[in-house]
């Protein structure tokens, strides 16, 4: 592939060990492909690299441009056809892997996880990185990189944006989202990039009945984004990919954060911290909150 063999001269120690681990796993047949990050001209962020030979693995990089969540590729049949999948994961990406395991989308033995300790990506670090509880991915087959000081996640900061929105009046909120949702073109990039949107048939593609109107008018867009956020409630791991790829820059993360916060507040639940957790919407407790029920 055109990026193969692209070998940065000044590879960092992590990158060296990453390339080694990946090349080794490919060479000894542990995996059929390693999906990691590569650099490509014309792209500000690292792009997914599918290394199928040890040489191609030399193109792997790991730096602050590695924002993407590669777990998205795990369920894809095209990728599975390449053999066992080696996946480069940051701590946050691992949360998505955990949800995929929890939801039986993948089996643990089908993936070879190359964890990389990560202090945060982008300059300045992304919001998700500043509140990340899992800088150090645990449960990987290999874990690389220096250990990272685990900053105590500041809950107030985690929800600052949500709180700001909630401080607004209902009308202001409506105006805000109306403007945002009007922009949506229904490209579904948000869905396609989400590692947890793996449905064989998305609800918008179900025509009988058509719960979500496919037309990119405000009504359809609202329905789509409400459904997307709700289908990810208790599941979204906050990787922020949806918001990143939205070509019209709708702050989708805000919706996800709102719902994640709610799950934490109501059910003391954070998604993807372990592969054997029980999603809040698939269980219940007799003492669940009753507020607002008449």
């Amino acid at each position: 592939m055109h990026r193969t063999g692209e070998n940065r001269m000044n590879a960092t120690p992590v990158e060296e060990s990453l390339r080694e681990a990946a090349a080794g796993a490919i060479a000894d047949g542990t995996v059929g492909v390693v999906i990691g990050y590569g650099h490509e001209a014309g792209s500000d962020v690292a792009t997914p690299l599918f290394a199928r030979t040890p040489e191609q693995a030399r193109g792997l990089v790991f730096d602050a441009t590695c924002v993407g969540n590669l777990a998205i590729y795990l369920p894809k049949p095209e990728v599975r056809a390449l053999g066992r999948t080696g996946l480069v994961v940051k701590g946050c990406d691992l949360r998505a892997v955990n949800v995929l395991l929890r939801e039986h989308v993948i089996e643990r033995e089908d993936v070879f996880l190359i964890g990389v300790r990560c202090a945060g990506v982008c300059e300045p670090p992304l919001h998700k990185c500043t509140v990340c509880p899992v800088h150090d991915p645990s449960g990987c087959d290999v874990t690389l990189g220096d250990s990272v000081e685990q900053p105590t996640a500041d809950a107030s900061r985690a929800n600052a944006l949500v709180a700001e929105m909630e401080a607004k009046s209902i009308e202001e909120r409506w105006e805000f989202w109306k403007r945002q949702m009007t922009k949506c073109v229904r490209c579904y990039a948000c869905r396609q990039v989400c590692p947890l949107c793996y449905c064989k048939r998305c609800i918008v593609e179900k025509t009988t009945p058509q719960w979500v109107e496919t037309s990119p008018h405000l009504r359809g867009n609202l329905a789509w984004n409400v459904v997307r956020a709700f289908h990810l409630t208790g599941r979204c791991v906050g990787c922020g990919e949806c918001e990143r790829v939205c070509p019209v820059d709708i702050p989708l993360g805000l919706l996800n954060q709102k719902m994640a916060g709610l799950m934490e507040q109501w059910f003391d639940f954070q998604s993807g911290l372990a592969p054997d957790e029980q999603a809040p919407f698939t269980t219940w407790d007799p003492n669940d909150p009753e507020e607002g029920i008449l």
């Binding site: 592939m1 055109h2 490509e40 001209a41 014309g42 792209s43 962020v45 690292a46 792009t47 997914p48 599918f50 993407g68 998205i72 590729y73 049949p77 095209e78 990728v79 403007r179 073109v185 229904r186 490209c187 579904y188 990039a189 869905r191 396609q192 990039v193 048939r201 593609e205 058509q210 109107e213 496919t214 037309s215 990119p216 008018h217 359809g220 990919e241 990143r244 790829v245 070509p247 019209v248 820059d249």
Partner: protein
């Protein structure tokens, strides 16, 4: 369409924009111009004052095609009329007179391609109506961006194809306006004395240099031979199968037709669609002629650089670079094409 035989050049006064906006408003003509929204992206939107118009932008996020083929439009409406019967209402009223003031030449050039499809034996009435009632005044590019490659696909930062008039806003000097069509000429009329015929011999500014990245002819030669090629799988693995690239592409025109109805009332809408979507071609039996992302990626490239030239003698890409810029996984049409180019000439 309505080509004026001889290109005419005008010099524009500094306040030409206000004059134009004022005059057009008086005539009841709606003006669409680049406007920067609260989130910082630039899009074509109705304007009434020159202060609303953004000039320091590379290109609109949503391409010009949306003016002629909105991302959603009502094709027909109907009303339930008794048991098992409906009354089909006339479609949406034809669009009024509009002027697009300030699209980029690549977007305007894309209209030529859309015209080919929408007037291919069958004339698409809603498209044609909007096209007829809209004057396209593009602003020539003086400073192309890193993703731009119009020159590689037969265009130019100063291309006048598809525009009714082209405005050159060059540095501190006076703006020039080139009339391309009768509609463009009519637009100049509306400027009154704010537009003066340029002195004979006034030269248009030289278009800025752009590296040519590939040769569309050679690409087509390769595509003609390589419907089956491992390259398709390689380049498609990372593609997410979203519609971001095609929705933002000024030449992509695939659409869906859906009915949206309540008990009484219904609308048949035309919405943008994308060949990248997995359900796009799926049959009722579950059979899918393009069952995976590899075949769908191939379709997009083939469509633009082989099928379109086969049928319309032009590639269906104007080199705006939006697809590369907006792809979440850095899928880059230019890199695929360069790759093909290198296959062609090893």
């Amino acid at each position: 369409m309505n080509d004026v035989s001889e290109t005419k050049l005008y010099r524009l006064e500094a306040d030409w924009l206000d004059a134009a906006l004022g005059a057009l408003e008086r005539d009841g003509v709606e003006v669409l111009a680049p406007v920067k929204d609260e989130d910082g992206s630039v899009n074509l939107a109705p304007v009434t004052a020159s202060s609303e118009v953004a000039t320091d932008y590379l290109n609109a996020l949503i391409p010009l095609k949306s003016v002629f083929m909105p991302r959603t439009e009502v094709l027909i409406e109907y009303e339930r009329a008794g048991v098992g019967d409906v009354e089909v209402l006339p479609g949406a009223a034809p669009a009024g007179q509009r002027v697009v003031l300030g699209c980029r030449p690549c977007d305007a050039r894309a209209l030529v391609m859309l015209d080919s499809v929408f007037n291919w034996d069958y004339e698409d009435v809603p498209y044609r109506a909007r096209r007829d009632s809209t004057t396209v005044v593009s602003w020539a590019c003086m400073d192309p961006g890193p993703h731009c490659f119009c020159t590689s696909v037969g265009g130019s930062p100063h291309s006048a194809e598809g525009s009714d008039a082209v405005v050159y806003l060059a540095g501190s000097g006076p703006a020039l306006l080139q009339v391309v069509t009768a509609k463009g000429a009519a637009f100049v009329e509306s400027l009154g004395d704010r537009a003066q015929p340029a002195a004979d011999g006034t030269a248009l500014p030289e278009p800025p240099e752009l590296e040519t990245k590939f040769d569309t002819g050679e690409i087509k030669t390769w595509l003609d031979e390589n419907f089956e090629s491992e390259l398709w799988e390689e380049v498609s693995l990372r593609c997410l199968g979203c519609g971001a690239c095609s929705f933002l592409c000024p030449t992509c025109h695939c659409f869906d037709i859906v009915d949206e109805s309540t008990w009484k009332h219904g609308e048949r809408r035309r919405n943008w669609d994308s060949c990248a979507f997995c359900q796009f071609t799926q049959h009722a039996s579950g059979h899918n002629p393009r069952p995976n992302q590899t075949t769908r990626c191939r379709q997009r490239v083939m469509h633009k650089f082989k099928y379109f030239p086969d049928r319309f003698e032009q590639v269906a890409c104007v080199g705006c670079g939006r697809c590369a810029q907006n792809c979440g996984v850095g899928q880059n049409l230019v890199s695929i094409l360069s790759r093909i180019q290198s296959e062609e000439k090893p």
